[in-house]
Symmetry: C2
Subunit: 254 residues, 2 copies
């Protein structure tokens, strides 16, 4: 049997080095080649000197994964990096689908902290109870399906976390989603947005659902729409951060 | 102004030291006191020598958090640890609710890899598309609400991830949930279960929804129910692990 290569799909977390898991760091340190979308490679490359980095632009996902398999097929250890988690709107699925074509390459998925978790931590604790994660991008999903999921999640009073709430071509999608949600939920529902968690330009805001549609989201924004139980907790007098928290109570007796 | 203490709510990931983030490790190293549920403290204490550990049994969550605030109120750095993420069925919400009573303590949430992510990575890539996370525990949530969420998530074709699928007192809850889901979904729907990820006794299995109800889940099990698109990908001839993957395609052209 020929020598096998190894391909790791690694979730690097929101962007700062410290938000990576020890396993992600050690895996990348052990690889000869690291493949990724240009923006993510730029976030981490200085921490992994001596590795060969291959970048591909957005929307070249299949090419990026095939490139990684070909490098790994030469007997090398190769990593494909994803922001957040490898398996939440990341590259893990595509890599595993392609793995059937590259039987001499072992594949391993290394999970990371996805934006739902890193964004929630910055806002407080919005995901303490049942939640639904929905991407508003209709590049690969028909809008009707997205709309159906928004309606069902709102109707069942899930906390809702929106990925890809907007892009240049989809500037009004968050507003469209809010209109749908407002058919089910009060305009006073507590919502939160985070931008660029752990990166330059980090931003957090808490607002009511009635105002969320006017928020200028971009592709680095993650949006949290509370359940009927979600509350805004005002910082106490002495609280060092001086900001309010978004909290969905789990129901413990205090 | 009196000297402030700091309270960190830290998600330690599924259990193995390597699955912690660098930030979680550095935060725990910087703390004098680490508070947690006995099982989680036992998972990590050998990695943080010299710290004072305080353990409380299950269902003593409020007492556990108050204990942590009181230690922090003395001007110390204190961590409350949670398995998985701090904010997904963890302690972050309760700590922030209680923080109003302890204005001299700063609170920070340090996120981690929740079971949905670590379990998904072990199974393949089940969460590549929109998903809903639902806890089957009715200790703090009426069953009617849980049932409504199961029905809505199934009807909108979310991938569904179940936390707390069973316990000694709720041995038949997973079977009850499967019966409900089968009203909406094919018995051939691809499902996966993981147990004790990254710990002794780790287990992974892929099976059809029609058989999932008979699976003996426990409190360390996480369950994944595929969408209509989720597939079982057979390992290729040379695959080192020799196991199939559970994958929800995102829709990329291959």
């Amino acid at each position: 049997m020929t020598k096998k290569g190894s391909l790791f799909v690694v979730g690097i977390g929101p962007g700062e080095y410290e938000a990576m898991t020890l396993k992600a760091v050690r895996t990348l340190e052990s690889c000869e080649v690291i493949v990724g979308y240009t923006v993510y490679v730029e976030l981490i490359e200085r921490h992994f000197p001596g590795r060969r980095f291959c970048t591909t632009p957005m929307r070249q996902e299949t090419m990026r994964c095939r490139l990684a398999f070909e490098e790994a097929g030469l007997g090398q250890r190769v990593a494909v990096i994803c922001s957040g988690d490898a398996g939440v709107y990341g590259m893990a699925g595509l890599v595993l689908e392609l793995s059937r074509e590259y039987p001499n390459v072992n594949v391993e998925i290394v999970p990371g902290v996805t934006a739902a978790m890193s964004g929630a931590a910055l806002l407080g604790a919005p995901l303490m109870h049942d939640f639904a994660v929905i991407s508003l991008s209709d590049l690969l999903t028909p809008w009707e399906k997205i709309e159906k999921r928004l309606r069902s999640a709102a109707d069942a009073d899930f906390v809702i976390c929106l990925y890809n709430p907007a892009s240049r071509k989809r500037a009004d999608y968050l507003a469209k989603a809010c209109e749908i949600l407002l058919e089910y939920k009060s305009p006073d529902t507590v919502c939160g947005v985070v931008k660029c968690v752990g990166r330059e330009g980090e931003e957090r805001r808490i607002m009511r659902l009635g105002r969320l549609g006017a928020y200028e989201a971009d592709m680095f924004t993650t949006v949290f729409i509370g359940s009927s139980q979600t509350a805004k907790i005002q910082e106490s007098e002495g609280n060092g951060n001086g900001w309010p928290w978004m909290v969905t109570p789990r129901g413990y007796q205090i």
